[in-house]
């Protein structure tokens, strides 16, 4: 298992300029398997995040918390890395860059910082790239198995479910794994496979690269990548007749409309949202509507108190009482 994780890390290094990837290759194997983010900022020391704490990397590939010992990232490092990430072809990632990131082979996402240029139709592109945030996507098969019995009722019925967690607590990973299990079906839980439509607005869920999902999202899953949730929901309802629609990071009023549309068509919803607890959700205007209408039957709260993806609580959407012991 660990070796696979190290392999993922080393694949990501392929996209980093030689000067830096040599250094990053030298960090200890035990850390390699846990790296979550690699951050390159012009003029700042090379920074990586391992299990939610941050370290600087020295010229020799040692991890330190002393910023002064970290290898300083230069303009050249950023430019070379950016060229490798964009495959020398900025034009091929035009649409993605407007959203501020590029998806790599393997489903990893690279966030971009720099000068944003506006055109007639909103953001046109980002130039003078000054920082890169390489988020290593790790597929955790089976993390959601313990949740299945809480969110299903019978072999082909799943409750409308909302996964709530702060950033970096594994909600996308959890949702992806739920999609896989629901789509494939599972004998153990006597689940029949369902048709799942995935609206992958930010290319994170399926990690589509060159049209091919980079993660296992099940065999009855259709993906609309890069599509916004409202359009995506309507398209899926019309064309794909899904049993379940999954979407990541809802929040805007349009997303709420999308959910209403889907529910009218008798489709179940799996979604995630940023947040800490129920009060936090109530404070979000658009979410308040969904809470009051009792659209979601299950709320799953995650945190990282016992590592990424710890299930803190599961709340029944009708009674607002915890059902997780």
């Amino acid at each position: 298992m660990d070796e696979k994780e190290i392999g993922i890390y080393e694949n990501v290094l392929e996209f980093i300029s030689l000067g830096l990837s040599h250094i990053l290759k030298r960090i200890p194997d035990t850390s390699k398997s846990k790296v979550e983010e690699i951050r390159l900022r012009y003029g700042a020391p090379l920074n990586i995040y391992i299990s939610n704490s941050d370290y600087f990397v020295t010229e020799e590939g040692r991890l330190t918390t002393e910023a002064s010992q970290g290898r300083i990232v230069g303009k050249k490092d950023i430019m070379e890395t950016f060229q490798l990430i964009s495959n020398y072809s900025v034009y091929a990632f035009e649409e993605e860059m407007k959203n501020g990131f590029i998806t790599l082979k393997g489903g990893h996402r690279v966030g971009l910082g720099g000068k944003v240029l506006y055109g007639v139709n909103g953001i046109e592109t980002i130039k003078d790239i000054s920082s890169l945030n390489i988020r290593i996507a790790r597929e955790k098969r089976g993390v959601s198995e313990k949740l299945i019995k809480f969110i299903t009722d019978g072999p082909n019925k799943v409750y409308n479910t909302l996964i709530v967690s702060p950033p970096q607590c594994g909600k996308t990973t959890m949702l992806r794994d739920l999609i896989r299990i629901l789509s494939n079906g599972d004998r153990l839980f006597s689940l029949r496979g369902m048709k799942v439509g995935v609206i992958d607005e930010r290319f994170e869920l399926a990690g589509v690269y060159n049209g091919m999902p980079q993660f296992d999202i099940g065999m009855r899953t259709d993906v609309l990548a890069g599509c916004n949730k409202r359009d995506g929901t309507i398209m899926l309802i019309r064309a794909m007749s899904p049993d379940v629609i999954a979407m990541d990071e809802i929040g805007s009023i349009h997303d709420v409309e999308a959910i209403h549309e889907a529910i009218k068509a008798g489709i179940r919803i799996l979604a995630t949202i940023h947040g800490d607890d129920l009060d936090d959700l109530i404070s979000k205007r658009s979410l308040k509507i969904l809470l009051e209408e009792k659209v979601f039957k299950r709320y799953i709260f995650l945190d990282n108190s016992k590592g990424v993806g710890t299930v803190k609580d599961i709340i029944d959407g009708n009674t607002f009482k915890s059902i997780y012991k």
Partner: protein
């Protein structure tokens, strides 16, 4: 004896003519290569502006679709790009300068235009890439016109010069 003389004369005329043709052909070669190069650029433009294919792939496609006499250059660039991770695209373009000059008989100004594309390729959005291509197309048609004039002027000249100098040598020797 006269047979040897005849044989020698023919040999001299053939060799000087060949030299003349060799120099003359350089001019027509440059023109035809510039035309093929323009075709390759057009394919590359389509790959980028309409296909939005990443460069290594786009360059390989140019090799496949274009006239192999010139398009092999794009394969060389693509291979160089894939192998040389530390450099940028311009370096990969620069790596084929020798081929352009020696095998394709291109002149410095043709090579400069070729390299200028290497400086801007892939570094901006599709709209901007299209503009750059339009600029290159304008420039290359100027170069083609110039190559045509030079070809008309010099190709015949060198070929005739070759044959005539052979005859001159013969007259002096005989």
């Amino acid at each position: 004896m006269p047979l040897v003389k005849l044989f020698g004369s023919i040999l001299i005329i053939i060799s000087t003519s060949l030299i003349g043709f060799y120099y003359g052909d350089k001019y027509s070669d440059r023109l035809s290569n510039l035309i093929y190069l323009e075709q390759c650029f057009k394919i590359l433009e389509t790959e980028i502006v309409y296909g939005a294919n990443p460069l290594p792939e786009a360059l390989t496609n140019v090799y496949k679709k274009g006239n192999k006499k010139v398009s092999f250059v794009f394969k060389e660039i693509s291979d160089h790009l894939k192998a040389n991770k530390n450099g940028d695209l311009f370096q990969s373009f620069h790596s084929v300068v020798g081929i352009l000059r020696n095998s394709l008989n291109l002149k410095d100004e043709d090579i400069e235009l070729f390299l200028s594309l290497g400086r801007v390729l892939g570094s901006s959005d599709r709209k901007d890439q299209e503009k750059n291509f339009n600029f290159v197309f304008k420039q290359i048609s100027v170069l083609q016109r110039e190559a045509k004039i030079e070809k008309d002027k010099n190709e015949k000249l060198y070929k005739n010069l070759g044959i005539l100098s052979g005859i001159t040598i013969l007259i002096i020797l005989l």
